[in-house]
Symmetry: D2
Subunit: 197 residues, 4 copies
């Protein structure tokens, strides 16, 4: 996202009280993102970019690090530690699917890996079933699965009219689907003692 887009987002934030999370595309504009976003997102494809990791390590804002689709858990944890060692303690991990031999779904959401991260790190964990599945039909079931693991956040792609979405149209929920999902998450949350914000 360019600087103009970020400024527009910041204006919307001030008007509506939302928070902005925005992805660093490459290290040339990391400082713009750090300035304007509330949470800095490091995308799966730039997880190995030391320029970005270093800048985020010095930033005073939360960083959400998305695991690369070809990234081992060990490399993922190492990248998070690289940011932490730069002085920024607000690192959030995000698993969004790995690339496997199976291609009926876009990626393979690695919930065994999520269980590993919960056990072996102390960082908040967010899961992204939309990118992993790639198809809206599977997102609600996967989102409930993720939530029942007791993780810290979910990324769910939503669009008022998915058919005309400009990116990743096949994986967007419409508003009604999202509300139904949200209601079921509320109930699961009560059952396992988790609160949805």
């Amino acid at each position: 996202m360019g600087l103009d887009g970020l400024k527009l987002l910041a204006k919307i934030r001030d008007e509506f009280g939302l928070k902005i999370i925005s992805e660093v595309r490459d290290s040339t504009h990391v400082h713009d993102i750090i300035e304007y976003a509330d949470i800095i997102q490091i995308g799966a494809k730039s997880m190995y970019d030391h320029g970005i990791l270093r800048a985020c390590g010095k930033a005073n804002k939360p960083v959400m690090l998305k695991r690369g689709f070809g990234t081992s858990l060990q490399e993922f944890v190492q990248a998070s530690e690289f940011i932490l060692s730069g002085g920024n303690e607000q690192v959030i991990l995000c698993e969004r699917g790995i690339r496997t031999f199976e291609n009926k779904t876009r990626f393979t959401l690695d919930l065994c890996g999520a269980a590993y991260l919960k056990e072996h790190t102390n960082l908040p964990l967010v899961l992204d079933p939309s990118h992993a599945m790639g198809y809206a039909y599977g997102v609600p079931d996967l989102a409930r699965a993720c939530f029942a693991m007791g993780i810290d956040g979910l990324l769910i792609e939503v669009h008022p009219n998915p058919a005309v979405a400009k990116s990743d149209a096949s994986q967007q929920l419409n508003h009604k689907e999202f509300i139904n999902l949200y209601d079921s998450l509320l109930k699961i949350g009560e059952a396992i003692g988790y609160q949805l914000i």
Copy 2:
């Protein structure tokens, strides 16, 4: 399992009212399994054995087909259709983890694949988080995740004293861990309208 073992299991069944599910090792003893077990299990490693699939297609008992760890969803569905086309309509699918580049966990439980199977087949679906994870610490979280997807069954390995288990010791829950898991599943089941048997 040999014929003597099967006969012993059958005796225990009659005494305690349990059901027996037992795995066909190879096609030489498939008829013993068909005779003595209540459910015939086709293991992940023999999923391509046409002798076994053919015999199960003619059997008059439910068959649980485990997906091979290198098996595509398409091949998995085709194997189930091979059994169905033999005349046996009682086929249960079981996803138990696929082999990926990640080796911090034993396999990678493919819940995107589970969502695919729920959408594209009408067969009951069972998930096996114990074999996928390979480590007991992750099994309860994964079992809750699987259950919240609305699937039809779970395989959970339990042992009174996992440390002395003769196989797969690292992935066994002890009784207390299992009871805690079961309690949480009961609550999730109430939340999403699913009943545990």
Copy 3:
């Protein structure tokens, strides 16, 4: 291949002086193969079948063990050792491609694995570029690559008219393509001191 087919093949062998290698489909007919074939082939999909492995361990004929497409090198070596430990010392290893995220080619021929097997075992090694690639256009280049590694054999699928082949049509070389390949292998063989039979 059924018993009748094997008997026919054996007749052709006697008439033309060829050798027969034939694949064990499942453990019900392993003894027919052992009786009629000159080399027993254990296919990639039955590599874990202990009934077959055990019977081959007691056979008095060479066994070619094909690596499963989801099989680790460790499991592959273990399966070969299982046959060896049964008393049959004539075991040939065959790498024929593993399943990876890449699907522009049918499988991924694992020549790093071939280098590993050459270093860590003393068994003859055969490579199968036809099944790995799945498309005839890549087979000659891959066959030259395999041969230049200094391995012990190649499986190359050939058909007088690939377009009408009853199985795996897309990966068959026609006679002219095979002869051209063979000529280039002869030259590489001279260069690296290997003799083609």
Copy 4:
């Protein structure tokens, strides 16, 4: 590599008549690399960095694009086309191993993919057996395999004393091993009508 290192390399080039190929770490220093190197290398981990790809598309020097270890052939070709469409026609493809379930070797050199690239693109192709294998013992055999495919270049890691190499020590050939390899490549080159430079 920092700017000082690049200047030093450039001085060595002028003194000894060597060419410099150097890797762009991230998009902050791509212009230094473009200025000082003879060939710009885009590493496997930064293959998706559009800032780097865009700058290389406008550069007037050859670019060697290394395939990411989790990158499909389609994405790899698309990244090369992105550079080409920027106006730079001097793009070299480099396959250096993909990440698969097999971990006895560092990566899996994808020679089926190399055959695909030879058939479907017109770009020069370089292979990197050292990084794929990760162990010196397999490098000579793999290098001969690559060369026999008729590709355009090889990356072979060499160190006068591998035991003290500062990076990737286990995969370096020493001088004697390299010379032996080179001699065998000369012979294979003669056999298949390829000339080594």
